[in-house]
Symmetry: C2
């Protein structure tokens, strides 16, 4: 058969075959595997079509909607990654000429990053194609299911964000 000439995990998944266990545990595993499947598809698609990584795409997506740029700290919060991570990520995008990095005139500790002209136009193409893909992945999901998930995930997200400081 040969699946794709690549090593490729991320296609089968038995959802950890969580037999017993509490409903919440099983839900968490299902949530995770669903997110993994979708992000895997997106990652492979971006790579195949544009040779760009998902983290780079995410970074550009954040900057695309902030024409004036963002400080690194704000960017790391929005992307939910550590500061240290961003240093290298931004560096690579600067090398490629997609992102500009300049010191904040108001605070010499800080840096502001934003899309270059080239970055902006490339990202537009990436985003368009990506939207097409994501919509296709949701093809068999009814609008009311989308709505229900939207609301229920908000509840879960709020609960998980709140109930954090345990022990």
């Amino acid at each position: 058969m040969s699946e794709s000439a690549t090593d490729g995990a991320g296609s089968v998944d038995l959802e950890a075959v969580a037999r017993g266990g509490k409903a919440e545990l099983r839900l968490w595993l299902r949530l995770l595997s669903t997110a993994n499947i979708i992000s895997g598809r997106i990652r492979r698609h971006l790579r195949a079509k544009f040779d760009i990584t998902l983290p780079s795409f995410d970074l550009m997506a954040q900057l695309d909607r902030e024409p004036k740029g963002l400080r690194l700290g704000e960017l790391s919060r929005r992307m939910m990654v550590t500061n240290g991570n961003l240093t290298g990520l931004v560096e690579r995008l600067v090398q490629e000429g997609l992102v500009m990095r300049e010191t904040d005139p108001d605070d010499r500790r800080a840096f502001i990053v934003r899309l270059s002209k080239a970055g902006k136009s490339k990202f537009a193409a990436y985003a368009k194609e990506n939207e097409r893909l994501v919509l296709s992945l949701f093809d068999d999901v009814e609008p009311e299911v989308v709505r229900a998930l939207m609301g229920n995930l908000a509840l879960l997200k709020a609960s998980a964000s709140r109930n954090a400081a345990e022990r």
Copy 2:
């Protein structure tokens, strides 16, 4: 304030502030950020409490329910990671004495890994504590919401798994 003495991303998250955009796109971002928040909490909790990484925990979780062990290929499929990734992950756990790795008598290409006695007993403690944490993260989520998410995520997962071979 100081948040936690660590560099810590993964706490705030503006859900990418996806203003416009199709509902499906926004749902995908919400799904991703929810999964990120939960897995971040789990990861930090396991590290703080037991000094174990999430991938190691996941690997042990898979083996825990297969007393006879698993071949590496099957394990990589279940964990949704590439084969190459597993080589190093297993190696570390073998070094720590938590996992045993032996060649499959029926197929000399293959390896079978399973939990050692020590691994089994350590994992029991990890899992117990982890279950406590996950349940606490779901604390404010009503059972019917859990049920609804379970069903609707199954639909989404199926759709995303199916609609793959696009272009």
